[in-house]
């Protein structure tokens, strides 16, 4: 065993001089995807299928561990990515009932749309839990050949001579690649380090909070009037956000509901209201209480939500770089639907397609990657974003969140109230309320027009 002599070691310079272990062990891939959320996993899956050696790096201890969203996913882009997704996708409930509700302090006015569509529909949507959904999609990427590494933070792009050569991970560890797909989410550090976007401004982001409240699945089916496997999606305006720009949501999972708010961070700081306070008031609103009564809050989460709108998005490509998902500001909040995950998945697919096209065109230069924008358009990501691009501005109109919900409810109250003092006809009710409300008719008309146009 002691197969060498101590004397040998005495020779000066026995031990090799210090050298960089990192250089010796340098790893390289064709593409590195940063973030194993829906955008990142969709990009990694698409890239791996197209023959790219792909590294998918996730900061959380597992995909989905750090992610947050309202709770609902529009399924359309999944069909192209995982054709048999219905077989094992961790769906909580298929959404069959949509409700838009306006709240005042103690009343609510709701519009409900029953659409008994199943998951088989092209327009299907479902509720999901990110810890399981993201893990599922990341697994598909792994099955396609991508290398998934979780629990590692990527600190920077590895740049040399103005070119991106890979990523720099925590501890200064470098891994090389021709392409980096940034799919880091709303608070992406890399888009800023890549010089694709300046620091986030408060007006560009909202704050999202969500409570997961446990309820028996029979209770959910009873209270929301849905069958087994069916679910409800509620969007709340008005007092839900105490008149601040934003709104509330409630989605039913199998045996829990996701209840939360998305509120302008600018308004929160201007009005000095804490989001916890808003969420508590919202949870205690009678219209919400009756749905969640007896439930137990088992999880609380908060996250930034990009409110960039198409006009303020970061640049989407650079030499060796593509930006996808929330990091690119791909989120639509038009007042009655919140869309993020579907756009993320579609943009991830587009990123993979763009990489393949760029490879055929000779490399991952910015000019070759520009084709990403065409793929985004053909997948209706940017087209939808542009269509609703006025929405963020329209939603900036505070009257929409405060005055108009109150107005609508007062009209409803006049219509339905019979107390012997004389009932109003609909038109009378509308005219009387708009007159007494402190808003000029012209202003109201313009707002309505702006709203109709953007929605």
């Amino acid at each position: 065993m002691r197969n060498f002599s101590v004397l040998d070691l005495r020779t000066k310079g026995f031990y090799p001089p210090p050298f960089s272990v990192r250089d010796r062990m340098a790893e390289r891939f064709d593409a590195i995807v940063v973030g194993a959320g829906p955008a990142g996993s969709a990009a990694a899956l698409t890239l791996a299928r197209r023959g790219f050696s792909t590294l998918l790096v996730e900061r959380g201890r597992a995909p989905g561990a750090k992610n947050m969203f309202g709770g609902r996913i529009y399924a359309w882009p999944l069909a192209g990515l995982v054709p048999d997704w219905r077989k094992d996708c961790p769906v909580e409930r298929a959404v069959t009932r949509e409700t838009l509700a306006f709240l005042t302090e103690d009343t609510s006015l709701a519009l409900t749309f029953d659409s008994p569509q199943t998951l088989q529909d092209a327009g299907a949507s479902f509720t999901a839990i990110r810890a399981t959904f993201d893990a599922w999609l990341a697994k598909k990427a792994e099955a396609a050949g991508a290398t998934l590494i979780a629990g590692i933070r990527v600190d920077d792009l590895w740049r040399e001579d103005g070119r991106v050569r890979g990523v720099v991970a925590a501890g200064g560890d470098r891994v090389a690649s021709d392409l980096v797909v940034i799919a880091e989410g709303a608070a992406s550090v890399l888009v800023r380090k890549a010089g694709l976007k300046a620091d986030l401004e408060p007006r560009e982001v909202s704050v999202g909070v969500k409570e997961t409240i446990e309820l028996a699945s029979e209770t959910i089916q009873e209270r929301f009037g849905v069958g087994e496997g069916e679910g409800a999606a509620h969007v709340y305006a008005g007092q839900a956000s105490m008149g601040l720009r934003g709104g509330g949501f409630l989605y039913t999972n199998r045996s829990s509901v996701s209840l939360g708010l998305v509120v302008s961070s600018e308004d929160l700081s201007l009005r000095k209201i804490s989001i916890e306070e808003l969420q508590t008031k919202f949870r205690l609103h009678p219209a919400v209480q009756k749905l969640i009564k007896g439930g137990k809050v088992v999880e609380y989460s908060a996250h930034l939500v990009p409110e960039l709108g198409a006009g303020m998005s970061p640049r989407l490509t650079a030499d060796g770089v593509i930006v996808a998902g929330d990091a690119a500001g791909f989120l639509i909040n038009n007042g009655y639907t919140f869309r993020g995950v579907d756009l993320a998945i579609a943009s991830g697919i587009a990123a993979g397609e763009a990489a393949e096209a760029a490879r055929s065109a000779g490399g991952m230069s910015a000019s070759n990657l520009k084709v990403y924008e065409d793929f985004l358009r053909s997948r209706n990501v940017t087209t939808d974003l542009e269509r609703f691009s006025r929405t963020p501005l329209y939603l900036k109109n505070a009257r929409l969140f405060d005055l108009y919900p109150r107005l609508l409810i007062e009209i409803a109250e006049r219509m339905y109230r019979v107390d012997g003092t004389g009932q109003s006809r609909l038109l009378e009710a509308v005219l009387r309320e708009t007159k007494s409300a402190d808003v000029p008719k012209l202003r109201l008309l313009l707002d309505l027009l702006a709203g109709a146009r953007s929605m």
């Binding site: 002691r2 060498f4 002599s5 031990y15 210090p18 272990v21 590494i149 990527v154 991970a169 501890g171």
Partner: protein, 277 residues
């Protein structure tokens, strides 16, 4: 010195073996109230913290001088998790000695089996172990390995330097620290908390994913004598484990006039001899 073995090539790096154990996470330790033994199933686990300190010494020697670090453990295949983490931190390879006949081994067979495995693996210059494990706290295994191999050992080491074919190590003693020298090959057991073990790196995790760096050995592979291991060949038995139950705390809020409340609080603290009159 005609009898000296052939001179090693100077490019051949130092060979370090770091012995680690996977233990239930310290903050999640639970004693089964029925069996009075540690719960090991369904509890999050980690590299035994002193072993992680030993591994960190091995890896920083590798950073400074270049070394080949082999991580060794003995236990069920669930220990792969700790071994993979060790490779992701920067170890070159990891070996798990795993065999049913090892079940129930106490520190005597364990030290024997590990020393046989180290011999089986080939040459070594330095063996590093944690001072003890957080789940058994005997501190036997490291010295036991050194005994079986017949090599010098330095225990309770918090710093280790290479010099002239040997090591110089700072040893924690009851009343201060001592500096010891030993020629290599030798063994050191490392103090808990003497350094901060690095996190796994991206490159390290990729190497683990690529596979082949964590391998298993059975007793037969190594040539371990089955009559020297296992529960029956372990001289110690756990006779009884007592759990200490902390007295429950009661809170008391002193209300009313602040001056009066503070006076009452002080009185109560004096009565309980928390403060002196």
């Amino acid at each position: 010195m005609s009898s000296a073995p052939p001179v090693r090539q100077s490019t051949k790096p130092l060979r370090i073996v770091a012995c680690i154990k996977q233990v239930p996470k310290a903050e999640e330790l639970q004693v089964d109230p029925k069996t009075q033994t540690l719960k090991r199933v369904g509890v999050p686990s980690e590299i035994n913290p002193p072993d992680a300190n030993a591994l960190e010494i091995a890896l920083s020697l590798k950073d400074r001088h270049g070394a080949e670090v082999t991580v060794l453990s003995m236990g069920p295949t669930s220990f792969d998790e700790a071994l993979e983490r060790a490779v992701a931190m920067g170890a070159d390879r990891a070996v798990l000695l795993t065999d049913r006949i090892l079940g129930g081994s106490d520190t005597v067979p364990t030290a024997y089996a590990l020393s046989e495995t180290i011999t089986h693996l080939g040459g070594y210059d330095l063996i590093l172990c944690g001072e003890e494990t957080t789940d058994a706290s005997t501190g036997h295994v490291g010295p036991g390995i050194a005994g079986h191999l017949g090599i010098p050992q330095i225990t309770y080491v918090s710093e280790l330097l290479l010099e002239d074919g040997g090591v110089r190590a700072r040893r924690t003693a009851e009343d201060g620290t001592e500096w010891w020298r030993a020629r290599m090959p030798c063994l050191a057991t490392v103090n808990f908390g003497c350094n901060s073990p690095r996190d796994p790196s991206l490159t390290g995790k990729i190497r683990v994913k690529r596979g082949g760096l964590v391998t298993h050995r059975s007793c037969a592979d190594v040539g371990i004598d089955p009559t020297k291991v296992g529960l029956l060949n372990s001289p110690t038995i756990v006779a009884k484990v007592d759990t200490v139950r902390l007295p429950s705390r009661t809170g008391k809020v002193f209300r009313g006039d602040p001056k009066e409340a503070v006076r009452q609080l002080l009185e109560a603290l004096r009565a309980d001899r928390v403060i002196l009159p």
